[in-house]
Amino acid sequence: MTPVFKTIRIRPGTYRVQMDGKYETVYVTGPRRDRWAYWNGQVFRVNEGAADPGPGRTHRSEGSQSLAAPMPATVVKVLVAPGAPVRGGDTLVVLEAMKMELPIRATGDGTVKAVHCREGELVQPDSVLVELL
């Protein structure tokens, strides 16, 4: 039998959901294309990037990968050059943001097709740093 949920909104974004006589509090917020919910210490995210791809994603198409900056950051080290073979997990670029170094790693094996950043450069979210073939 499908469980029946009775839902009461107790304030904007806050819901009491009754299931088997027991109440749970669930918090919901966010725009339709990126909805967030919280229950019992856990965060759930739905429709993330339905309208636009979120930052920091690896864009894959026809066997190639492009690695993008996940957030505004400074490029502190470029470790590869075009033509270099790389293996999944290899660090290609080191960024620095929020006082921490962030390694950008290859998501799979391949060859560096192009490098689109320079050491010392400030890069914006989603700007492509390295393309792999």
Binding site: T29, P31, W39, L102
Partner: protein, 494 residues
Amino acid sequence: MIKRLLIANRGEIALRVIGACRELGIESIAICSEPDRNARHALAADRAVAVGPAAPSESYLNAETILNVVRSSGADAVHPGYGFLSENADFAARCEQAGVVFVGPPASVIRQMGSKIQARHLMQAAGVPVVPGETPTGQSDDGVATALKRVGFPALVKAAAGGGGKGMRRVLSADDAAEAIRAARREALASFGDGTLYVERLLERPRHIEVQVFGDALGSIVHLFERDCSVQRRHQKVIEESPAPSIGPRLRDRLLSTAVRAANAAAYRNAGTVEFLVEQGAGSTDDGPFFFLEMNTRLQVEHPVTEQVTGRDLVLAQLLVASGQSLPWLQDQILARGHAIEARVYAEDPANDFLPQVGRVLLYREPTMPGVRIDSGIAEGDDVSVHYDPLLAKVIATAETRELALARIAAALRSYPILGIRTNVAFLLRVIESDSFRAGNVDTSFLDTQGAWLAQDETADIPGHVRAALRAHEDASGSPAVPDPWARSGSWRP
């Protein structure tokens, strides 16, 4: 007594100091960067002065501008908080020269303890054990690599001017040395403007136990017991507690008395912390060797756990002692009761290599329950920016026993919704509820070795009742004619 205090910081620690000012009748002056004009700390102070753009180097780290604000506002004291200018000896010295009280130790002490090399020498002379290591006289990459070979592997290469894990790298073998030295040097230069490195032996599975100390201008020095901060990720503390679990009374006494000896050797004044690495004794919890790691010449992020178990207000004492008064307590008046634990809530994505997160806090509700203290610096609608530390809040739970304190902090984290930006709340819960942590003897390698499975993303399956709430929310905000309540920051009613 201090009359008007400028707080050279932001976020939760600025709010903590502003609260203490209110209790003591001290006028508080906040500084803020341009985007922080409506931040909680800027709104909470009696006055707030914008000191520059978002970048810390142009605002919270800009000593010149901050000193100008001190002068123009007529402040007679500066509280640096932690981070930013708190361990900048030059800034403390310039305050002293301007006749303004720097709430912290004298500039000379900050300078001495800020240099890992000088601090080691001082501690060795005072009979405080230090980790085997050396500062290469040849500071070239090759010179540092040679020193690493002398110390032996595994080893650490660290920034001499460092702290908080920045400019520090593990070196497991000679093959890793070159890259580690370059990375440490880069971070050291970027974070501290000083690329001097030193090397030391990496202890096997040590625990990080530190002792809160406090000194006054009359030369009295007391300790306020220890904190265990072994749960660290890349040398950033994540969970801290007091007392340290599973250590025997002999080891505790040795740690406390050694910390007081170290603080005396440094002629320490105001609040400080002596950090030790404690090697796990073979079976015994009472006679393991321990080594001086460093001394933090400021209030620590994790000071609340000490306040909770001792019932002593460290910020209040900082302001009294900085005003020239004697310590408000004698050593034998300071007792520890029960157990306190703190978890640091960071804007980061544990499932994605703990990448710091930026974005807007869309929904934010702090838990209120007995025995739970939240020290936070954010509010619903705030933007978490790339410019500042990703620490959002500290959750501190206090109870009669460790077991009860763990249950209490877990309950608090289970009722602490922060949405719109990813945080480590679910990760903190998994750590606190893990068997290893509950057993109470994790070492500093715990998160490095077990962090991966603790960081797994478990949110793939959305439970039915959460889906029901999502559907209800869709109905409540779905019609295009109705404004999205998300855009209306909470005041909207159906």
